[in-house]
């Protein structure tokens, strides 16, 4: 085994691979809110049940003036498509997340002190994922 500190991520939204333009970091969050199900007299503690599972993801894509035409169409907010992410690349047997996601926000930054330009892409779940990291799914 080895503790992962790799940046060998695989990222695809729709038909466009984005790992070559990915910069800084990506954030993935699987959440489940809870519902208070406490009922009956004499209870001393709250009881809860988990609600439906949600997935969110955001990551940054660089502005590369030579290649941006190859991926700029992917940066349009409001698009629902398949997002595939492999934290260890997409080799057979490596962990895989795949699901329908909606790109809800594309945020662009430029600064006068010459920091790199990047797009921050934010996704929310569009439907039940086909494959999840926590579910043990892998690339074929």
């Amino acid at each position: 085994m080895s503790v992962q500190n790799s940046n060998n991520a695989y990222l695809r939204f729709g038909s466009t691979q984005l790992q070559g333009y990915w910069t800084e970091q990506l954030n993935f969050e699987e959440t489940a809110d809870t519902e208070d199900t406490s009922a009956g007299a004499g209870r001393t503690h709250i009881a809860r049940e988990p609600k439906l599972v949600d997935n969110k993801m955001d990551f940054l894509v660089i502005y590369d003036d030579v290649t941006i035409a190859q991926y700029v169409q992917t940066l349009r907010a409001g698009v629902k498509d398949t997002l595939i992410w492999g934290p260890e690349g997409n080799a057979s047997g490596k962990p895989r997340f795949e699901g329908s996601m909606i790109l809800t926000s594309t945020k662009y930054t430029q600064s006068v002190d010459k920091k790199k330009h990047s797009f921050t892409l934010s996704f929310v779940q569009g439907d039940t994922p086909v494959a999840t990291i926590s579910g043990g799914d892998t690339f074929a």
Binding site: N7, N8, A9, Q19, G20, Y21, W22, T23, I62, D65, K114, K116
Partner: protein, 143 residues
Amino acid sequence: MTAAVETLNLIIAAHLRNASPVWGERVRSVSTVEASLVRPYVHFFIASELNEKILVRKRHTRIALSVKGVAENLGEALQMQGLLADLLDDSGQNDINARLPAHPDWAVLSVTQGRAIILDDFFKNAVMIYHRGHQFEILMEEK
């Protein structure tokens, strides 16, 4: 592939050589300056180099480059400081006034003028030598 610092040495030398009649061809990196070189001349050297991880599959490096004029009177040294700033500040390919020579291995993305170099030293026979210039922050990308 040429190292980034070597590439930058070549680019800076080519850009500054004969760029002004004040120093003519007398532009030297730290490893090529000779003791007999006639003043005024331009002297440049790498102050630091740091790898900067921007993309997974492409190397970037951020270099601090010191560039100064060396002259025997203060007025000439200050004139060179201004001329060198005119020649180098914002000269990278992503800057507002791109004008550095191209290189097949590395691109100079940005050149930003930083802190000033102010140094006066006594030479032999109590001759004062004036060093004036700037340190430039340079971001480079492999091609």
